[in-house]
């Protein structure tokens, strides 16, 4: 935010913006190493849920404490509502994967609204693309294993469609399932988090700059209300982005389960 604010032209702009949009997404290496801040955050997005889950389930108490209750609720949500609820019979064995992507994406997303971090790792294409490709390989593998070659022929020559339309629908279905699905899954998460990050950064940076006006020789008091307005809107969007962070993690996990379900139970 400070980086964005430093390049503001508060005389001519109403919403300030960085000279280069990369300033919002790419940061220098961490403390003179070859490791970037984003890579550190990626590792933290894995370690934080691991540590929380470890401390939540360490005691294995029959009467759960607060942390254990939260962990159990999340596990139950993914296991019962998504793994078993969506995939159905045989869905339980996908629980570890679905739980992992949910927790990893959730904490990666929550960095967007985490104070002093304010950067979701899922706004970098590497993470959504990697996870969607894993989902893609899983559902294709499950489809081939469950249906054999019939998985592909079923896509190319779908049953229940008038014969005249089968070639057209088959091509659409083939492209949709094998090419579009992984990218749509990745881009949905990526785009939502990029949009949220850009919006928050610009609003809060504008608010900060117009209120504080750093490096300005003479403070222009009439600009302060503009800053207050942007900052207030930014705080409202902050709450909205908190919901988006949780929702996008849920949607990614849910869609992964839906794709696996279509491969596992094509009759549905």
């Amino acid at each position: 935010m400070i980086t964005a604010a430093e390049t503001c032209d508060f005389i001519n702009e109403v919403v300030c913006k960085p000279a280069n949009v990369k300033d919002l997404f790419e940061f220098g290496n961490f403390a003179g190493t070859q490791i970037s801040r984003t890579e550190i955050l990626i590792v933290l997005a894995a370690l934080i849920p691991v540590v929380l889950v470890f401390f939540g389930l360490r005691k294995k108490s029959v009467v759960p404490g607060k942390l254990q209750s939260v962990v159990e609720t999340i596990f139950s949500l993914v296991k019962d509502e998504i793994a078993v609820g969506v995939i159905g019979r045989g869905g339980e064995r996908f629980t570890p994967y679905l739980l992992s992507i949910f927790l990893f994406i959730l904490f990666g997303n929550l960095f967007e609204v985490a104070p002093f971090i304010n950067f979701p790792i899922t706004s970098r294409m590497a993470i959504p693309l990697f996870l969607s490709l894993v989902t893609y390989f899983i559902f294709v593998f499950v489809g081939v294993r469950e249906q054999g070659f019939g998985y592909i022929t079923h896509l190319v020559w779908p049953s229940g469609v008038p014969t005249a339309l089968k070639p057209l629908v088959g091509v659409i279905e083939l492209i949709s399932v094998l090419l579009v699905r992984p990218f749509s899954l990745a881009v949905r998460l990526f785009a939502n988090l990029v949009a949220g990050h850009v919006m928050l950064s610009l609003l809060l940076a504008s608010g900060y700059f117009f209120i504080v006006q750093p490096g300005v020789s003479e403070y222009i008091i009439s600009k302060a209300p503009v800053g207050i307005a942007w900052f207030t809107l930014g705080l409202l969007i902050y709450g909205f982005e908190l919901i988006v962070s949780i929702l996008q993690a849920y949607i990614f996990t849910l869609l992964s389960a839906v794709y696996i379900q279509t491969s596992l139970h094509p009759e549905h």
Binding site: E13, V14, V15, K17, A19, N20, V21, K22, F25, S36, T38, E39, I42, V43, A45, A46, L47, P49, V50, V53, F54, L57, R58, K60, S61, V62, P64, Q68, V71, E72, F75, T95, P96, Y97, L99, S100, I101, L103, F104, I121, R124, M125, A126, I127, L129, F130, L131, V134, V194, V198, M199, L202
Partner: protein, 178 residues
């Protein structure tokens, strides 16, 4: 604001190909694979088994508590039935105790009365016997006194009478005293 964002992206693309942002950075991809693998193996090998153990323990504890509650309920119902029975029989028990008490009291009363009568009778008998004995003793004493007085009188009378008169007097006296 939307226009501003559009301008922002347009300017950014012009200045430094914003397309870079759509391509995954290799280092981030490697970090992502490693980090996700850690989460996945942790969840797979430790967290889910731990959760399953916890849930099994909880289910066992709940089942045990339900069983215990059922046992307690059965015992409570049994106790309640016993208490109801006791309460239902309480009036009869009370009446029985009262009747037994009355009977015992009556028996004691009769025994005491019999004993008192017996004692009274014994006292009366003893008093009668004592009275009779006293009477006899008094009569004996009186006779002695009378005899002595008679003797004294007779001596006085005899000294002034003839021997025949004395004899007649003595005989009459003895006869009267009979």
């Amino acid at each position: 604001m939307i226009l501003n964002l559009e301008n922002l992206f347009a300017e950014a693309e012009e200045s430094s190909s914003g397309l870079d942002l759509l391509l995954p950075a290799t280092s981030e991809l490697v970090a992502g694979v490693a980090a996700f693998s850690v989460v996945f193996f942790f969840i797979w090998k430790w967290a889910l088994p731990a959760l399953n153990v916890t849930l099994e323990n909880r289910a066992a504890a709940i089942e045990g508590q339900i069983q215990e509650a059922e046992n307690t309920k059965v015992e409570a119902e049994k106790s309640k039935a016993e208490y109801d029975k006791i309460i239902a029989n309480a009036d009869a028990e009370v009446q029985k105790i009262i009747d037994e008490g009355k009977a015992a009291a009556e028996k004691i009363k009769e025994e005491l009365l019999a004993e008192a009568k017996s004692e009274a009778s014994a006292i009366v008998e003893k008093a009668k016997a004592d009275s009779e004995a006293e009477k006899e003793r008094l009569a004996s004493d009186l006779k002695g006194e009378v005899a002595e007085l008679s003797l004294q009188i007779s001596q006085k009378v005899a000294s002034s009478m003839s021997k025949d008169d004395q004899q007649k007097l003595i005989d009459n006296f003895i006869k009267e005293m009979g």
